[in-house]
Symmetry: C2
Subunit: 164 residues, 2 copies
């Protein structure tokens, strides 16, 4: 079976069991989570939230990139979220590497060297602190918008609060 057909067969089983039809586009708990693309956790699972509760924005590192800000501004001003929860994690692929190393890696695999800034970082608590500060300084969020920061330990499953 091709991957395409396997995924559609999986989805047919999922749809049979679905009971989420009553949920609406606005997140019930008014929360948006910004976290990494890492495969080992779901954002809702780590925070004990339910389907329908929160927007989930994920990218490499969980960084407050321009695109994450695009998403969070929409989430808050158009869809009513009032909290952003930033979560970076231990054992991240962006931790302790440099742009030069990552660009060299891409060139080795593809033959083309990208000018992409991959947003790597040296310390996971500092990267959370930096991204929380970036979001708190952004003028496009509603009055009273709040940003929380955490580091997630992929081995223990525990979150650690990061004070800004």
């Amino acid at each position: 079976m091709t991957l395409h057909d396997e995924l559609l067969a999986n989805n047919a089983r999922y749809a049979e069991e679905l009971s989420a039809g009553a949920l609406r586009v606005r997140p019930l708990r008014q929360i948006a989570i910004l976290t990494c693309m890492d495969s080992r956790y779901t954002a809702q699972g780590v925070l004990g939230l339910s389907m329908g509760d929160s927007h989930v924005i994920r990218n490499a590192g969980g960084r407050a990139s321009d695109d994450a800000i695009r998403s969070l501004v929409l989430s808050s001003t158009a869809l009513g979220t009032r909290w952003c929860v930033v979560i970076h994690h231990t054992d991240c692929g962006l931790l302790g590497v440099t742009n030069d190393e990552l660009q060299t890696r891409v060139e080795a695999v593809t033959g083309v060297r990208p000018s992409i800034d991959f947003l790597p970082f040296e310390d996971v608590a500092s990267s959370v602190r930096d991204d929380v500060a970036t979001l708190r300084a952004c003028p496009y969020f509603p009055p009273g918008y709040q940003v929380l920061g955490f580091v997630y330990d992929v081995t223990t499953g525990l979150l650690r609060s990061i004070e800004a």
Copy 2:
């Protein structure tokens, strides 16, 4: 209880039940999913994938933005993914609106008009087709990299294949 304390209490229960400590940073199924931040589904749930199987990149709309490409290039060249699955969905907050309307909305809420391109779209199948084409044309993916496109119906839970 504050939101901060509630989320940490939820997380402590999650960590107690966690059995994912053996998973590694490289996704087992070599899949990266690009989808919307919408609260009503998880990317893995919709596709019947398990923890550890796939990277998950989420933003407003599930668009192939520069930041999504940053994440997908890292995912493939550094962490071994060989497939990208693009999923946009029905009843999306970016469907049938314009940048002007969204910028006006932000200005009404915050007093500041952003110059952000929110990447809205007129038709959800077309937006999937556009983003699949963008990714297929990107020179920074490994040889043999494959991109699949789907529309997710948030009411029925069903995926529909989009041919490029």
